[in-house]
Amino acid sequence: MAEDLRIGVFVCDCGSNIAGYLDCPDIAEYAKTLPHVVYVKENLYTCSEAGINEIKAAIKEENLNRVVVASCTPRTHEPLFRESCAEAGLNPYLFEMVNIRDQCSWVHMQEQEKGNLKAKDLIRMGVAKAALLEPQEPIQSEMDPKALVIGGGISGMTAALGLANRGFQVFLVEKAPELGGLLRHLHKVGPSYVNADDLVASQATKVEKHENINLLTSTTVKAMEGYIGHYKVTVSSNGVEQQFGVGVIVVATGAKVLKPEGFYGYDGKRVITQFELEELFRTESFKAEHVVMIQCVGARDEERKYCSRICCMTAIKNSIAIKEQNPEATVHILYRDIQAYGVENEALLQRSKQMGVRYIKYDQQRPPEVQENIVKVYHHLLGRDLELPQDLVVLSTPLIAGEDNQSLSKLLRVTLDANKFFLEAHVKLKPLDFATDGIYLCGNAHYPASVREAISQALGAASRASIPLAKGVMTVQPIVSVLANEDACRGCGLCVALCPYGALEIVRTDKGRKVRVISVACKGCGVCAATCYQHALDINSFTDQQVEEQIKAFLSG
């Protein structure tokens, strides 16, 4: 090694968190005996101002070119220590952190001698790795400050407007000739009974008039390549292709209604879906006097285990519409659980009951039977079958994933769930993001949602998408995958297939097919490096050689 290694080790007491259980002075003495270690200091709190100043002073006075801190967790403190190194003029990636608290002093409170030995092992390993660390520079990438929104329903329109109002250019792509999605087929929107057409019209006008929105109807996405900040999108409008670049993408492709072929004698006339009932309302051709609605048709069964969330509310909303039109009409809703969750929904359920809508719980094992002019259902409070008169049976069917989801998920390299809905990165922490940076989701594409929920998710997705757009430049930590040995790479593409973030691609070079790392998209997870048969890929700051040295150091103890 050309460079004269001068490693400084700082052992933190963490008050009594470490020093209360481990012999820190002894550990510090031990650190002095390790190769290339020229300076060791024990601090009460390395992270305190005094501790930080000691690191900075030692870098300058002792000419340290590697720093190791043995303390707590990198999750909370690594950024601070890296920054401090940088302030003292040392490349921040020549810093290594050793955790002798969370995984040592805390878990070995009852066996302090062994804990002490383990702390020494860990520090020896950290020092061995530090010796091989190399300086890194943060990766920066310009952001194309434009967005693509796929889908022009209420979610897509709202997301597009949210971004456009912030001043970003938006391409809104809708495969149908007009905006509105599912909402175009609905009668009224609960819970406020606004005309669906009015809602669509008001949003669509805003979209069409917005100077920042480039609206592309009758258009589908054909191809997509690139990564956050630099997506290249090819779309096709009536056979005419065009290409444009965007920085981020919002998926708002909605869902479709299940047609219940084979259920309860569905014929689209006397036995129809809620969706078709809305059409009767819209065309003012609804005339029935005795309506029976059946819930969970094709949902919560063996084939489709999920609850579609909105069908109970659709049934309640439509039952009220029937009662408003004709108070004498009878409406029975046969249900398994009435999913009127929340404040507004429960209020509507109560209102429908006040208007005389009857609710009867049925058992999945003993479903209702649709017969001529009646529906037979077992009433378990009465303990016998009831025969309900009917001149119209309305089946509440679930929303199912759109047929394009599969192909779109492949184009965008994002995941679907078991029911082919798009799957978010984390159910609680990142409900509107995909695992791939720069792609977001909202509305029915994610899971069935009410209009209120879709609007709020769409604004949320717009907010998430606007974060990288507003920054303008992406700065990424350089702990990413690198093609360390280009000659070894055979361009087999196994790593490309396994990368969860779409951060690898195969390119043609003078030397043949080789992998290329898209550094800004890489999260440094290491799947590629671990998979590569040829050991062609490495992860910065976690190279094979560094890890091997750590293992050797451990075994030499």
Binding site: Y45, S48, E346, K428, P431, R452, E453, L459, S466
Partner: protein
């Protein structure tokens, strides 16, 4: 939390309250009271040495009063910012005028500042987001559920603390009746030890055992000494205390953790006496709690008493079914009429099963009430000073088509402050509220919106 705490553009003002809001969208002036915490945040390293030495203990509100904390404390271990706070009312030095200051002595960072005063901060902001959350309904107003009379009837939030590895029982399902018993035994033992120590000293001083002394004393042969009356009284006290303690200790030794659980849904919600609305998330948290209890001890069985089991999110229905199949959860459709208690402090649940058309009762080890989500106590006051309206249930009023907007431009609301919702929906809404706030700030001149950072 950590991300928010570390973000360069987030100025985290904890232990603060908004007192005044003026101005309008794009240029609000907000007065904030930064309450004295008597600990200098910039110096405190969060090491916790003060907590180890603080002599005062009070009920721990974070653990729903099931555990104890000291007067200088951190609300919970992972709290951000990672600093401490003195509860002035209970502090010997600040609240009770006694000399103490132990925390200041042990603090190596010199962060304790008994002289700290409340501070007023003036902020200039373009938009405001209300994310003040909710309170848990107090079930003691429902007489038939006997929450205030039966120890082993707890709220879901209390149950969460019992289930938590960082909670007062380290995740073991010790029943509150047993915790009370343990506390009672501890107090009695402390008193008994005090008496015993006094007796020991007397035995030593007079060179004889108590039994011997009592024999002489009762026979009038003990002679005259100023100690003797006291000695006899102490001996009597000791015998009495031992008599009381013995059966309690026997019961304590025989105590078992809760294995047969009942969850009661819609406690204070979908109930016309209290709140008509559905609290949205409680069905799922009962299923989750029953599953975690079963994970902790696979002998656990649970019955969930509900009207409708509302499992409406992605994977929720599947989760519910899995609970029934592999976590010994039984779903019973029926509203519970009453909870009574047997001699062993076991709650008895009386209910009508609508599926079997029977009025029935069953004895459980522990009953968990899935309590409603209600507006947090400070909501009316906050609404007043923000100048926004509340809905008929007391949550911040919003419109279905503008779900984040309150009735005052530039003030937005997200999460349970606008009505009950689960975590994914709250997180999604938080982003949406940020979007709305950013839209507002983006459309007003920079100079007006630039403050507050």
């Amino acid at each position: 939390m950590l991300d928010a705490g570390r973000h360069p553009k987030i100025n985290l003002l904890s232990y603060c309250e908004v007192e005044e809001v003026s101005g309008e969208v794009g240029a609000f002036q907000v007065k904030v009271r930064k309450k004295a915490r008597y600990v200098n945040e910039d110096l405190c390293t969060g090491c916790g040495a003060c907590v180890e030495k603080c002599p005062t203990t009070v009920k721990d509100t974070y653990n729903e009063g099931l555990g104890e904390r000291t007067a200088i404390y951190k609300y919970f271990p992972q709290g951000i910012p990672s600093t401490h706070c003195i509860d002035a009312e209970n502090c010997r030095q600040l609240g009770q005028g006694k000399k103490c200051g132990i925390c200041a002595k042990v603090c190596q960072a010199n962060a304790i500042d008994f002289e700290q005063q409340d501070q007023m901060l003036d902020l200039e902001v373009g938009a405001v987001v209300l994310a003040t959350g909710y309170d848990v309904f107090d079930p003691s107003v429902i007489p038939e559920y006997a929450y205030d009379r039966i120890d082993n009837v707890v709220t879901a939030m209390e149950f969460e603390r019992l289930l938590s590895a960082s909670g007062p029982t380290h995740g073991h399902l010790d029943r509150p009746s047993e915790l009370a018993l343990r506390a009672e035994v501890a107090v009695l033992e402390k008193d008994l030890n005090k008496v015993s120590r006094q007796i020991d000293r007397l035995e030593e001083k007079h060179g004889k055992k108590t039994a011997e002394f009592l024999k002489e004393f009762e026979a009038g042969k003990a002679g005259e000494d100023e100690d003797f009356e006291r000695w006899a009284t102490l001996a009597e006290k000791q015998t009495a205390a031992e008599k009381v303690l013995a059966p309690l200790k026997k019961r304590e030794a025989a105590a078992q953790t809760a294995k047969n659980l009942a969850f009661i849904q819609c406690v204070g919600s979908r109930d016309f006496r209290f709140n008509r609305f559905c609290s949205s998330y409680c069905c799922m948290h009962s299923v989750k709690e029953a599953m975690i209890a079963h994970e902790h001890d696979n002998q656990t069985t649970s019955s969930i008493f509900c009207m409708d089991l509302r499992a409406v999110g992605r994977g929720f229905e599947e989760y519910k079914l899995r609970g029934g199949k592999s976590s010994n959860i039984k779903y019973v459709r029926g509203r519970v009429a009453e909870i009574t208690e047997d001699e062993a402090h076991n709650p008895i649940v009386w209910y009508e099963s609508t599926t079997s058309r029977q009025v029935d009762h069953e004895t459980f080890d522990l009953v968990i009430l899935a309590t409603a989500c209600v507006p947090s106590a400070g909501t009316p006051k906050l609404a007043d000073l923000m100048g926004v309206e509340l809905d008929q249930n007391g949550f911040f009023k919003t419109d279905p088509f503008a779900p984040l907007d309150t009735t005052r431009p530039g003030i937005f609301v997200c999460g349970c402050a606008q009505g009950p919702m689960d975590i994914p929906e709250s997180v999604a809404q938080a982003s949406s509220a940020a979007a709305r706030a950013a839209e507002v700030v983006a459309t007003v001149p920079k100079a007006a919106a630039g403050g507050g950072e």
